[in-house]
């Protein structure tokens, strides 16, 4: 029996070992397009930019628009254009790691290509995966994409300020999520308004501190 994704797995292990040596926490952020990954990164850079040395890898199909939005924080950003590809793989991460001064980084956020299925299958060598979902997408995401919610170490539910304008049912969302991954931390936030972000900042700060 040979694992078909051996090549990806071997490269991911190399990346993981290198980042452990350099004490850099790599977080693989996975969501649908438009759930708010970039806004979450903007907020996180604003709040934690003075405390930690942050780097970002932007996975984007063809543009560098997300990277442009983060430029104002003066942090190292590298864009990987997948040219149509629906996910990042460990080889593309490994190639761009040379562009960072890893000795001068505490955390490296990888904004994966917006997609709930493919990115969850490819190990990038990250410390953990973070799933971001937004209320406007509906409450059925955990039930429909269980793999991501099993693989992720935390879930961030964004756009809670929009709940009154949608048919999002929080109880149904939360019970589906608990069925799949009962212990997973859930952050209920609005990245545009700022609700609930304090808990996220504290949690991610603790993770970064542990890896330093």
């Amino acid at each position: 029996m040979k694992n078909i994704l051996d090549r990806n797995q071997n490269k991911a292990n190399e990346v993981r070992n290198l980042l452990a040596l350099k004490k850099v926490l790599m977080v693989n952020i996975i969501s649908s397009p438009g759930a708010g990954k970039t806004t979450l990164l903007e907020r996180t850079c604003e709040e934690l930019g003075a405390k930690f040395r942050i780097g970002v890898i932007e996975g984007d199909i063809t543009t560098d628009r997300d990277a442009q939005r983060l430029k104002k924080y003066n942090i190292p950003i590298v864009v990987i254009n997948t040219e149509g590809g629906c996910h990042l793989d460990s080889n593309s991460i490994s190639k761009v790691l040379d562009s960072f001064e890893l000795d001068n980084l505490d955390v490296l956020f990888v904004e994966n290509v917006g997609n709930l299925i493919c990115p969850s299958q490819f190990d990038l060598g990250e410390a953990f995966k973070l799933a971001v979902v937004s209320t406007a997408e509906g409450d059925d995401k955990p039930g429909k994409y269980p793999m991501l919610f099993r693989e992720a170490v935390a879930v961030l539910l964004n756009k809670i300020d929009l709940i009154p304008y949608t048919n999002f049912n929080f109880d149904s969302f939360s019970s589906d999520l608990k069925k799949i991954n009962s212990q997973i931390p859930l952050f209920e936030v609005s990245c545009t308004r700022g609700d609930g972000l304090r808990e996220w900042y504290d949690w991610i700060s603790e993770k970064i501190n542990i890896s330093r």
Partner: protein, 113 residues
């Protein structure tokens, strides 16, 4: 569409193996995918066909086995199959689980002449 990326890796392994053991034609590839990998067999087959076109594997039959998700309960030790995404022991309800199967992406065998 992770099917295409996985199909490309599969094709590379099949062709390399065939070359190593001097096959002139690959006739069948037997693979198993865990249910959690969420592969759609028809899409996968299509992607694989595109990748092996004009190679010694272009007529190879693909046999895809989908493996259901099975977990072991770390609390009471029982094994169970996950149904309807319910990741909790069906005997003691514990959610402290280890995976037994369901994330496979394996090549079982490659046949050829």
């Amino acid at each position: 569409m992770h099917e295409s990326g996985i199909a490309e890796d599969l094709a590379a392994i099949v062709l390399e193996t065939a070359r190593r053991v001097n096959l002139s034609k690959v006739t069948k590839v037997n693979i198993s995918f865990g249910q959690m990998i969420q592969i759609v067999p028809d899409i996968f087959e299509f992607a694989f066909r595109e990748t092996v076109r004009n190679s010694i594997a272009e007529d190879a039959e693909l046999d895809i086995e989908i493996v259901p998700v099975k977990m072991k309960c770390m609390n009471c030790g029982s094994d169970f199959q996950v149904k309807e995404n319910r990741f909790a022991c069906n005997i003691c309800r514990s959610t402290d689980l280890g995976i037994i199967q369901g994330k496979e992406l394996f090549i079982k065998s490659i046949e050829g002449e």
